[in-house]
């Protein structure tokens, strides 16, 4: 049977992609950003940790979806996806290969479990999905895992509540455990941490709030589930709302144990957060 073995969360700041694509990782600005991923790179390269499939929870930043269609929850079911042109040309990364059997299996189970997923067969994937892959897998010729993309709308309000995202994660876990082949599956939550990209309040960072959020992924998941949108917006900035996507990851884990944490300010306008959680029993 397929099993979720770990959860990985990371910010997906476009600048991380720029640093990798333009070979700037050793520059003083980028060095502390990338240093925090060294542990994870080593960990994920070990055969016992290497995922067959990554369920990658991210948001589209007006790339695949404009204003014409706004799915609250969507799942990519096609064979493969290509890197999007976000205005500066597509990132030079390998094609993203899906596990369509697992993706459809998850889609079917989620819908039967009353999560009304939008099924996506044609789309390009933007930095929300490709930056986490680059941060953790570097620059391989082909991604070392298959990727099931799950998209959460965090752009046009109202968006799904944190608790709803957590419950989506629980449902994903049940679906994965019903998949009848032995797969090592990881679930990744992306986006965040505190940042605001708009208006006179832009540049907001709340390190204390972020660190408590990181602590409570293992110490108090129940508190995180109940954080209302207004608290994310006030405390973690308007784009800090992306952290609800970490709750999809969290919901798919049982009694997670923290293996590694990385937190650095700034990466562009953003507080970069990254955590690796081992799934418990």
């Amino acid at each position: 049977m397929a099993k979720i073995t770990a959860g990985v969360a990371t910010s997906h700041v476009p600048l991380i992609g720029v640093g990798i694509d333009q070979g700037k990782c050793d520059e003083p600005y980028f060095k502390p950003i990338f240093a925090g991923y060294d542990w994870t790179k080593e960990w994920i390269a070990k055969p016992e940790n290497r995922p067959d499939v990554v369920i990658l929870v991210y948001n589209d930043h007006a790339s695949a979806f404009g204003q014409e269609i706004i799915p609250t929850f969507a799942i990519g079911c096609a064979e493969e996806f290509t890197s999007a042109d976000e205005g500066w040309g597509p990132r030079p990364v390998p094609k993203i290969k899906n596990h369509p059997d697992l993706a459809w299996h998850i889609a079917e189970n989620l819908i039967l479990d009353e999560f009304d997923m939008t099924i996506i067969n044609e789309m390009d994937v933007d930095h929300g999905l490709t930056v986490p892959l680059s941060a953790i897998f570097g620059q391989p010729d082909a991604w070392p895992a298959l990727i099931v993309p799950i998209m959460i709308n965090v752009v046009t309000y109202p968006i799904a509540s944190g608790d709803r995202c957590f419950r989506l994660g629980q449902s994903i876990k049940r679906a994965v455990e019903r998949f009848p082949s032995d797969l090592n599956v990881q679930i990744w939550g992306t986006g965040g941490m505190s940042h605001q990209l708009q208006g006179p309040r832009a540049g907001l960072i709340n390190q204390k709030w972020d660190q408590t959020f990181l602590d409570d992924l293992t110490a108090d998941p129940e508190r995180l589930r109940q954080i209302p949108h207004i608290e994310y917006l006030r405390e973690a900035g308007s784009e800090g709302i992306e952290l609800v996507m970490w709750l999809v990851m969290l919901g798919a884990l049982t009694n997670p144990k923290e293996l590694h944490r990385h937190y650095h300010v700034p990466a562009s306008n953003t507080a970069l957060g990254h955590i690796v959680l081992e799934n418990g029993k």
Binding site: H61, Q67, E86, P200, A202
Partner: protein, 134 residues
Amino acid sequence: MDRNNQDYKVAFGDIPGTLVFTAERARKGYWLNQFCMSLMKPENRKRWLANEQDYLRDWKITTEQKAALLARDYNQLLALGGNIYYLAKVFSTDGLSFVQAVSTMTGMTVEDYQAMMAAGGRSPDGVRSIKEGK
């Protein structure tokens, strides 16, 4: 949880210096944002940069929105229904980074903004709530 859509949105109005992308803004900015999406194609970027006024003629964008676009007045564009992830296509086409573009909304120079970020970013103290002034 806030289940009432009106209460939910009213609370957003209490955050200083922040415009949450609600249905009202999404409706107001529909064509402005869709125009931004058109800049994901290299041939459109080329045409836009060659003659911005001419390019805008094809779009149902208000005079106010057009003026704000030509002036790259991002605060005004947000007020007129633009969303930052859509507007990112405009500043990316200009060759600006997120830091460069975002700093223009803060009244700071890009150097001062970068220095603020390097020093840990803008504190939330004093900018959480207009009503409570904290």
